[in-house]
């Protein structure tokens, strides 16, 4: 059985199409990274999978239960760390956890035992009787993770769990995720952090403008990123795009304003070629920047790779 099987999910908010066609399969036991730039529809997809908002179309089977027709059974099996932290700030950490225990039908002793263990693991045990109001962002996020894990779910959803967090909290959360996965928990991790996905995930799905554009192992993704470098250059005279595109390594040359954007897998060779080129033409380089490959370029690259 797959942990998640989603087919052709769609969702619009008024005129905005947040998700236009998303199909995802997540296997049991894997860490699946759901990657995409801001506004791509990651959170909307996750909320549909969690049964928080109903899709306009499509189906989602979570742990074998249809999220529309058997929401309670599906929800019983997974835990959620949503994009926006949502513990009750007027309750203590402990009260929040006990509430979760009751909502998931755990008996009190078990809930208390698990809560203590999780709070200890996440470094919150000493502050357990303090109202969540007084917590830092990182502490809140760790508590939310504890709340999501209390009922020992087989599947865990996390929506950008480390975004904007301190290093200590980030490290704690990521290493806990790794341990959980080793013990068999399936993890659906939404992120726009390529590096995080790369370190953690067995497979990643990439969403762009509401559509899945690629599903791959992160190694392949990484290779794709490393293939694309951008060099931004401008000259004191007009040069032809065809000449630039013919330089060693250059895969494309595009003009924006007075600057040229050259993409290349080998920036060193291309810069050398550029220098030779300008010497031969008697023109001078006015500006030259090498741009780190952006996530967006990697996405583009992957999409193009898939299409060819």
């Amino acid at each position: 059985m797959n942990a998640i099987e989603a087919h052709h999910l769609r969702k619009s908010f008024g005129p905005v199409t947040a998700v236009s066609d998303v199909s995802i399969t997540v296997r049991e036991g894997e860490i699946f990274g759901f990657l995409g730039p801001n506004g791509a529809g990651k959170t909307t997809t996750t909320r549909m999978l969690n049964g928080v908002i109903p899709p306009d179309g499509g189906t989602a089977l979570i742990l074998g239960h249809d999220i529309r027709s058997e929401p309670v059974l599906a929800k019983q099996g997974f835990g959620v760390v949503p994009e926006i932290s949502n513990a009750y700030t007027d309750l203590t950490a402990w009260q929040n956890l006990m509430l979760m225990g009751e909502l998931y039908g755990l008996d009190r002793g078990k809930a208390a035992q698990h809560s203590s263990d999780l709070l200890a693991t996440l470094g919150l045990l000493e502050r357990k009787d303090q109202k969540v109001q007084a917590y830092s962002k990182g502490m809140k996020q760790r508590l939310i993770l504890a709340m999501a894990l209390l009922h020992e779910p087989a599947l865990l959803f996390l929506d950008e769990p480390t975004s904007g967090l301190d290093v200590q909290s980030t490290h704690m959360i990521l290493s806990l995720l790794r341990d959980l996965n080793q013990q068999g928990t399936t993890i659906f991790l939404t992120t726009h952090n390529m590096e995080e996905a790369n370190q953690l995930c067995h497979r990643v799905g990439i969403i762009r403008a509401g559509k899945i554009v690629a599903t791959d192992a992160p190694e392949k993704l990484k290779t794709a990123i490393e293939k694309v470098h951008t060099i931004e250059v401008s000259f004191d005279r007009d040069v032809s795009g065809d000449d630039l595109a013919a330089l060693i390594g250059v895969t494309s040359a595009e003009r924006t304003g007075d600057k040229w954007q050259l993409t290349t897998p080998d920036k060193d060779a291309t810069i050398r070629a550029l220098v030779t080129f300008t010497q031969q033409r008697g023109t001078a380089i006015v500006t030259l920047n090498t741009l780190a490959p952006t996530l967006d370029e990697a996405f583009l690259r992957l999409t193009q790779g898939d299409m060819s």
């Binding site: 309670v72 059974l73 949503p82 926006i84 700030t89 009260q95 009751e102 909502l103």
Partner: protein, 251 residues
């Protein structure tokens, strides 16, 4: 354990109720709308209509108190929780919307009953007899369910501004007081007034309370109870159905 089964969902509804009790009983707006308002309203009328006997007015006080207290927190819960994002957490938990609504109703019902019992004791302390204790208990329970369902019904339009449903609920509660035989005996109403009264669940409750205290009543007691029960069932089913439909719009 079947998480989706009724017994389990009722237990989870109780968890929601306990959370509401912890979080919302002591909220200022709940205390103001639920307790101070009816108290001062009643004082004003009490001072102004001294020709009516206490045996008539005190059952009215019990009626007004239950109406206000049992609807004090239910209208605003989802607005508060929507605003803080906690509603999204509840919706991602294995609890049905019906059970959530039921849990919120339980918290409202207990708040209503608790404060209303105080006014019952005040009435007894002021010398009213209690002729039908069982009827009193049954009718307070029933009416508390009915009024809390009304409160939840007022919370149906999605908003994250808690004062909107609270104001809406005031706009409905004040007219109810004037058509429900609280300050004016039903037999002194013109026939069109009586028709209006018959539409208000508060009328039947107040009638039952008067009967419990003094044995006097306007409608047959069984009719009061039956009508109140039917209204309660219809409103409860209605509010659960409507909340199920509107909940996604709050997300």
């Amino acid at each position: 354990m079947n998480p989706a089964g009724l017994p389990e969902q009722v237990k989870r509804a109780w968890a929601i109720a306990k959370k509401d009790i912890r979080l919302y009983y002591a909220k200022n707006s709940v205390l103001i709308f639920g307790i101070l308002m009816p108290f001062f309203l009643f004082l004003a009328f009490f001072a102004g209509s001294s020709q009516l006997p206490l045996t008539f007015l005190l059952p009215g006080l019990v009626g007004v108190t239950l109406l206000f207290t049992a609807t004090a927190l239910s209208p605003a819960i989802y607005a508060w929780e929507g605003r803080h994002g906690t509603l999204e957490r509840l919706v991602s938990c294995p609890i049905t919307i019906e059970a959530m609504v039921f849990g919120d109703m339980i918290a409202s019902i207990l708040f209503g009953i608790g404060i209303t019992l105080i006014t019952v004791f005040i009435a007894l302390a002021l010398g009213l007899p209690l002729l039908h204790g069982i009827i009193m208990i049954v009718s307070i329970l029933l009416a508390a369910c009915c009024f809390s369902a009304i409160g939840m019904l007022l919370a149906v339009p999605p908003t994250s501004e808690p004062s909107t449903p609270m104001t809406l609920s005031l706009l409905i509660k004040f007219p109810l007081i004037f058509i429900s035989g609280i300050f004016v005996p039903l037999d002194q109403l013109p026939s069109w007034g009586l028709v209006l009264s018959a539409c208000s669940p508060l009328t039947y409750f107040t009638d039952l309370v008067r009967y419990s205290f003094t044995g006097e009543h306007f409608f047959p007691v069984l009719a009061d109870i039956l009508i109140l029960a039917v209204i309660t069932l219809v409103f409860t089913a209605g509010t659960m159905y409507l909340h199920k439909r509107t909940m996604p719009k709050r997300m």
